[in-house]
Amino acid sequence: MPKIKIDKNRCKGCYLCIVNCPNSLIKIDDELNAKGVKPVVFSGGKCTGCAMCAIICPEFIIEVYK
């Protein structure tokens, strides 16, 4: 099952991955991270491992497993 891992504390909150996920599987977390922004989290749905979120992420904090 493909999945992604997000390093929460390095997220700056640009939310480009949310816009670019074709299946809308990434959500905004309710709690703040170490940088003081609400980071993105993987909702755990049916990920296809297309890596669109990782390609667009400007902080390279998303790792894609397939």
Binding site: K3, R10, K12, G13, C14, Y15, L16, N20, V37, G49, A51, M52, A54, I55, I56, P58, E59, F60, I62, E63, V64, Y65, K66
Partner: protein, 223 residues
């Protein structure tokens, strides 16, 4: 054809039997990019271009041959992020430094990384003369249309009507003139080999930008 079909059946059978499929890392940070936090604003395309440069360098294994030249501007501390040889240059004089390095070390791949304040404002003379001499260097020009580092002031490449902190009602063509079209200016020079304008706003465009960078660095034939 028969063989292919048999393979497919075998794989699905192992899945059904509940065999654990090993997870494989398909996307992560390239090796020549240091594992540090970047100082860029949230959502800035600079770091994506940094990553594309590193990916091309890793894929074609030219890390020990490449020399980058960092500009003055937002990307001024690019040498903190890139894990290969990088030099710093005075504001706008990056093509001049690249010319010198390429002439002294002709076997190395020399590229400059410049923003629009560096290349299109203070360094216009340097880039035009380096292009006109036909220097064997690559220039990666990151144009966002404003001076991001100093607070979003109007740049020569700001589009007509674009709002910045020094053109609150939008850039007026009457007062400030037309935006500078660097690519069209350089395209008429006979010394220029390859020019391409790309964007990094979507995943598809990022693929296109990566192809353009690999062509520009000379690792893929551009003709």
């Amino acid at each position: 054809m028969k063989k292919k079909n048999r393979k497919k059946i075998n794989r699905s059978a192992s899945k059904r039997a509940g065999k654990k499929v090993e997870e494989k890392l398909v996307f992560s940070r390239p090796q020549s990019l240091r594992d540090v936090d970047m100082h860029y604003c949230a959502g800035c395309g600079h770091s994506i271009v940094h990553r594309l440069v590193c990916e091309v360098i890793d894929e074609f294994k030219i890390r020990d041959r490449v020399i980058g030249i960092a500009p003055v501007g937002c990307a001024v501390i690019a040498y903190d992020y890139w894990d290969f040889d990088v030099s710093e240059a005075a504001h706008g004089r990056t093509p001049a430094v690249a010319t010198a390095i390429k002439r002294v070390r002709p076997d190395n791949i020399v590229f400059t990384y410049q923003g629009d304040g560096d290349l299109a404002a203070i360094g216009t003379a340097e880039i035009i003369h380096a292009a006109n001499r036909g220097e064997n260097i690559t220039v990666i020009f990151v144009n966002n249309g404003v001076y991001g580092m100093t607070g979003g002031q109007m740049a020569p490449t700001t589009l007509a009507g674009q709002k910045t902190s020094t053109s609150i009602a939008g850039r007026s063509l009457r007062n400030d003139g037309y935006p500078l079209k660097m690519l069209e200016m350089l395209a008429v020079l006979p010394g220029v080999r390859y020019l391409e304008r790309v964007s990094v706003h979507s995943a598809q465009e990022i693929f296109r930008a990566k192809r353009a960078i690999s062509k520009a660095l000379g690792v893929v034939k551009s003709y």
